[in-house]
């Protein structure tokens, strides 16, 4: 099994995300995350898909199927290309008396930010590669993790 990241450039028209979702369901692709937003070019949307699949051949078939969608302009598989991949995670931790400093130190090590503090909880924001996010979450799980919200991966070729 392997994870691949596909960047799909589409026309910004209603229903495109719907079509991609239909393809995912019909072909039973295992999509771990989707992010989407308009690009630097007006009218073009960039959709980043992180897909888990069996082997190298299947991902090319997925790329070709997505390309058949009328509004799709190009599909780039950046997995094995020199690229930058980032995601953002918000983690709400239960922080007991006197533990705030400890959390703050860990967050600093991961170059993250504390974006909310309340009685008994803190919300930590971490940006980075998937590996970094996952190790940060693991470290933070020393404290009780109440909630995690992850955006999924966005990527760009170098």
């Amino acid at each position: 099994m392997k994870n691949s990241t596909l960047i799909v450039f589409t026309e910004n028209k209603p229903g495109v995300l719907n079509k991609i979702a239909i393809l995912i369901r019909k072909k039973m692709y295992n999509v771990e995350s989707i992010t989407a937003f308009e690009t630097e070019t007006s009218g073009i949307t960039r959709i980043t898909l992180n897909i888990r699949h069996k082997d190298a051949e299947k991902i090319d078939q997925i790329r070709k199927q997505i390309l058949k969608i009328v509004e799709v302009k190009t599909v780039v598989n950046v997995t094995d290309k020199p690229s930058v991949a980032r995601e953002l995670a918000l983690v709400k931790v239960a922080v007991g008396n006197g533990k705030r400093a400890e959390v703050s130190e860990l967050v600093h090590i991961f170059r993250g930010n504390i974006v909310d503090v309340s009685k008994g909880t803190m919300i930590v924001e971490i940006v980075g590669s998937t590996e970094k996010i996952e190790s940060a979450i693991q470290v933070l799980s020393e404290f009780k993790i109440l909630e995690i919200a992850r955006t999924g991966v966005t990527a760009m070729e170098r």
């Binding site: 719907n18 078939q61 070709k64 058949k68 009328v70």
Partner: protein, 573 residues
């Protein structure tokens, strides 16, 4: 035209004009509340005939038949809600078999979309799953452009169905955007530029092969490449086989033809594929009915695959050389550099297999009756071929009869066999034959179906009645659902669950629709019955009483390899 013409036109006018400018001749459909404004406008257009059917499924199939026979975009028009949803089966059929139709559905007004209004359904949502594209323009201003884009998407690349969902207020509203003019042609699908290096590589593979088989797929028909295909195989002296949808891409009695390949293909074709060292697959997609067990499929063969749809290349079968291009273009450039090889041993093997089968089947065909003493479908189709000299159009329904029609009918003319391949939809034949007849009014069209399939869209006899269509209907009545029965016989311990049909008197139904009919029981009556039907000026029904135990062989089971082909019924007894 009135000099004081308003510069704005209604949506209904814009849509009707779009159809006229496109060159549409027929719109197959059914009226209803949400489409009334448009159909009212369309009824004044002299160049377009509205063909009212009896169920919107029939409209989708008729438009499909028209498209299959003419190569042009077929048009369907229905109202919202149930009218639209009734077309879905026909649309799914067109999607699977790459048939271009545009389904224009009326829709409730934009102001009430999403409120579960009367006869509202999210048809675009449903169509998105089974079309190349589906759009609901929300203003009259967008209508002309949307029509144009949908027509282009339907007809470019691998052709297929599209849906235009038009809300009632968009039909009634007005706009200055009466026609859509574009400065340059929009390309929705790309294919590759075929290089001479690649062609050289392909030619070398072909010229050096000792046991080649060429596949004549649906793409030969869709790409109008019949002549190029025949030139190609004759130039290289290359034996070829058809997929079900490729049948009639070349004359089926051609000396180099091995017949149909696949699950119910001929012994000669399947044996050749099993033993081949090179397959040249033209416009086909290695469907599971064609390959059987994929791991075992043509193990020792290299594969050259030509297809206009890139996603079909390397989808099921890993290929050695591919051309994501139009078959006609590739064959035109390939034929000059292909050399004729005698391949004597290969042809000796092939001929041996053909002769062995011929000597087995000839006495059976001659006898013409099965285990229960009733008629054999294969014999009936053999007689039809002789009398029509293999020159007529045959529209087949789905089931055992379909396989036997495919195997035992001779097709000498290009693109004269029509059947539901990918979706395998019963009820296909009658409404598709209607569309084929509109596309080819001067040719004879045979709608061949079983008793099950006939009843799935029997209401379309009303369409034949209304439009006085000379469609020759053949009902092969064995009073069972033959294909399922065959599987129950072979794999379910002869437990014939729900495959016996309690049928009415079909000739009485025919009579109610003013269609003369005859029932045929003995082999000796077959020719006379066909002569009678052929000489009648209008539609006829011939009901043949067929044997419920006529099975179709050879058979390769879905998870079997080609060397596990069951050749005859006797071999499993």
């Amino acid at each position: 035209m009135n000099k004081k013409t308003q510069r704005k036109k209604t949506g209904s006018y814009i849509l009707a004009k779009a159809l006229v400018d496109y060159g549409a001749e027929y719109v197959f459909g059914y009226t209803g509340g949400a489409i009334m404004p448009f159909i009212d406008e369309l009824s004044d257009v002299k160049d377009i005939k509205i063909v009212k059917v009896r169920n919107e499924q029939g409209a989708a199939f008729a438009a499909g038949g028209y498209a299959r026979a003419s190569g042009k975009l077929g048009f369907v028009m229905t109202t919202s809600g149930p009218g639209a949803t009734n077309t879905l089966t026909g649309v799914a059929d067109c999607m699977m078999d790459s048939v271009p139709i545009m389904v224009i559905t009326g829709q409730v007004a934009t102001g009430v979309v999403g409120t579960d209004a009367f006869q509202e359904s999210d048809i675009v949502g449903m169509m998105l799953c089974t079309t190349k594209h589906a759009v609901q323009p929300t203003s009259t201003d967008e209508l002309a452009q949307t029509f144009h884009e949908l027509a282009e998407v339907a007809m470019q690349g691998r052709v297929g169905p599209v849906n235009l969902d038009v809300p009632r207020d968009v039909q009634l509203g007005s706009s200055k955007n009466v026609t859509y003019k574009q400065r340059k042609k929009e390309r929705y699908f790309e294919t590759e530029t075929v290089t001479s290096e690649k062609l050289r590589a392909a030619a070398d593979m072909i010229n050096n092969s000792k046991r080649p088989v060429i596949f004549c797929g649906h793409g030969i028909l869709l790409g109008n490449a019949g002549r190029q295909f025949v030139s190609f195989v004759e130039k290289g002296k290359l034996p070829f086989a058809y997929t079900l949808q490729g049948l009639s891409g070349a004359p089926t009695d051609h000396a180099l033809s091995l017949g149909m390949l696949g699950m119910h293909g001929t012994v000669a074709a399947n044996r050749a594929i099993y033993n081949s060292d090179l397959i040249v697959a033209l416009g086909m997609r290695f469907d599971d009915r064609v390959t059987g067990k994929l791991d075992e499929y043509a193990k020792n063969a290299r594969v050259i695959h030509v297809d206009i749809d890139d996603s079909e290349i390397d989808k099921n079968v890993k290929v050695d050389l591919s051309f994501n291009a139009d078959v006609k273009q590739v064959l035109t450039k390939l034929t000059p550099i292909v050399k004729k090889q005698l391949r004597a041993t290969w042809f000796t093997d092939i001929t041996k297999n053909k002769q062995k089968w011929d000597s087995y089947i000839t006495p059976i065909l001659k006898k013409g009756t099965g285990p229960n003493g009733n008629l054999l479908i294969k014999t009936i189709m053999m007689h039809l071929s002789k009398l029509t000299k293999g020159r007529d159009n045959v529209v087949s329904d789905v089931g055992v009869h379909e396989m036997l029609v495919a195997r035992y009918t001779i097709f000498k003319r290009f693109n004269t066999f029509f059947s539901s391949g990918g979706l395998g939809t019963m009820g296909f034949s009658l409404p598709n034959a209607i569309g084929v007849k509109f596309a080819r009014p001067k040719e004879r069209v045979w709608a061949v179906m079983g008793d099950g399939g006939f009843q799935m869209n029997v209401q379309e006899l009303g369409t034949i009645l209304e439009h006085k269509l000379d469609v020759k209907i053949v009902i092969l009545n064995n009073s069972v659902l033959g294909m399922v029965r065959q599987w129950q016989d072979m794999f379910f311990n002869k437990r014939f669950v729900e495959t016996d049909m309690t049928n009415p008197d079909f000739l009485k139904i025919a009579e109610a629709y003013n269609i003369p009919g005859r029932r045929i029981i003995q082999p000796s009556e077959i020719d006379e019955a066909f002569h009678w039907a052929m000489n009648m000026p209008g539609p006829t029904i011939l009901e043949f009483v067929c044997d419920k135990d006529e099975k179709v062989f050879p058979m390769i089971l879905p998870n079997a390899s080609f060397d596990e082909m069951i050749e005859t019924e006797e071999s499993i007894l």
